[in-house]
């Protein structure tokens, strides 16, 4: 689940037009989400800053900023001094192994509380008459002679339905296989960790592709830290310690004042990654089967948008114009939406 435990970062500064539309659509929906769900999801537009450490970073970030602004997506360039003013704990020492040469700042980006998002959605859905059945695995997808969906087998019995929407994160390809479909997905463990809680010290979200880490501070006071996935396909829901060591070495490099912070806990989740780092959201070759998958390491930010677009696609039996490009078929036609760079550190 995208709203499971994660590092709660929300931003929309992706490169391509299709991505700008889908992520900015989600960003717009975050704005009114607490009111709509009547539940405070603690969406905080504190800004997401991506650090540039070399000439290549500076060139690609400028390209991103220009592309974003042409698409009406908020993004701006900061000098190292401006970045330091926006985020005082940042070290802009010229003697660093990877000195900060500037940053791209999306002020509308930020964080939300992941638990509140799950609870708020669950309560609002329940109020609309939706049954939520927890701890009940799907064991099969039943199809009629003409290939269309007839229902799903679960651990607690059969549910007859002509329409099924699959939103299963790391296990998406396992479910798709139940309908006889093979997907361009690979599942990897993604780890994150939090520190002991401290008083407010960190005002925004900072990400660095080059030294491999991202960090923010939760409202509880914990530093929330993440980085890349483990390298191999796995459903084990835990990763290796050397990944975390690497992440923390990066954090200490950019924020030397955190060198003596103690880490409280770490965890790993399974994320489904597509070859072009963009989601697959829409219809499948099986009539009545709809899918929302492939968000990889960064699906939380898209939660309200993905939910709206999947619901639209299921209700109308055709995609919304925003998710129309995010088909499974793009891997056959070659019309990929390659966001490997914008997807940041995590792949």
């Amino acid at each position: 689940m995208g709203t499971g435990r994660n590092t709660t970062i929300i931003r929309s500064n992706y490169l391509y037009d299709e991505s700008a539309r889908i992520y900015d659509h989600a960003l717009d929906l975050w704005d009114g989400l607490s009111q709509e769900l009547n539940y405070n999801v603690m969406y905080s537009k504190r800004g997401v800053m991506m650090l540039a450490h070399n000439v290549h970073d500076m060139q690609s970030f400028h390209r991103h900023i220009h592309a974003n602004r042409l698409n009406g997506v908020d993004n701006q360039w900061l000098t190292p001094e401006e970045a330091k003013a926006y985020c005082p704990p940042l070290s802009i020492s010229k003697n660093a192994r990877y000195p900060v040469m500037g940053a791209a700042l999306q002020k509308k980006g930020g964080v939300a509380r992941h638990d509140s998002v799950a609870w708020g959605y669950a309560r609002a859905a329940a109020a609309l008459g939706v049954d939520i059945i927890q701890n009940c695995a799907v064991t099969g997808i039943k199809r009629a002679a003409d290939g269309a969906v007839e229902g799903i087998e679960t651990e607690r019995g059969f549910i007859a339905t002509p329409k099924v929407g699959v939103s299963a994160a790391g296990n998406s390809s396992v479910l798709m296989e139940m309908a006889g479909l093979r997907f361009p997905l690979e599942s990897y463990p993604l780890q994150a960790l939090v520190s002991e809680p401290v008083k407010p010290v960190f005002p925004c979200v900072v990400m660095s592709n080059t030294v491999h880490a991202y960090i923010s501070q939760s409202d509880k006071g914990e530093l929330v830290i993440g980085a890349g996935t483990d390298q191999y396909v796995s459903y084990s829901q835990h990763g290796a310690l050397h990944i975390i060591e690497h992440t923390l070495a990066s954090i200490c490099e950019i924020f030397p004042l955190f060198k003596r912070m103690r880490m409280l806990r770490s965890w790993g989740g399974v994320v489904d990654v597509t070859p072009d780092r963009s989601p697959i959201l829409g219809k499948t070759p099986v009539p009545g089967l709809y899918v929302n998958c492939g968000w990889g390491t960064g699906g939380f930010k898209a939660t309200p948008g993905a939910g709206h677009l999947l619901a639209h696609t299921i209700a109308k039996d055709e995609p919304h114009k925003i998710n129309a490009p995010f088909t499974l078929d793009r891997f056959r036609t070659g019309r990929l939406i390659d966001e490997a760079a914008a997807a940041a550190v995590a792949h």
């Binding site: 695995a137 296990n171 390809s173 396992v174 093979r182 997907f183 361009p184 997905l185 690979e186 599942s187 390298q231 191999y232 396909v233 796995s234 459903y235 084990s236 290796a240 310690l241 050397h242 070859p275 891997f331 056959r332 036609t333 070659g334």
Partner: protein, 100 residues
């Protein structure tokens, strides 16, 4: 961290010496110009992504630098065996480790 036995060095070494190189036994098309778009998509993008027994390639990057294959259970991360590149695909040892 995984402990991986390199079949060339014949030693069990920590994962940081190795790099993962994706699913194993995916043969490059013998006659690429004969493939249609669907077959290319299959070759380039579609993967087993097995929940259970997985055949995969590793490279002993900081050792002998050679590629070899491994059989691993992706639920437990337990490595069952490694074998040299070019050797036939072996059978996995028993069922996957208690996957549900």
């Amino acid at each position: 961290m995984l402990l991986i036995r390199c079949p060339y060095c014949e030693e069990e070494r920590p994962e940081v010496e190795f790099s993962y190189a994706g699913e194993a036994h995916i043969a490059r098309p013998a006659d690429p110009s004969q493939l249609n778009d669907e077959q290319w998509a299959e070759y380039l993008f579609i993967r087993t992504n097995a929940r259970g027994i997985h055949y995969e390639r590793w490279c002993h990057r900081h050792g002998c630098a050679r590629y070899f294959n491994a059989v691993r259970d992706t639920v437990t991360d337990k490595l069952q065996m490694t074998y040299k590149a070019g050797e036939p695909k072996p059978d996995a040892i028993g069922p996957s480790g208690g996957d549900k």
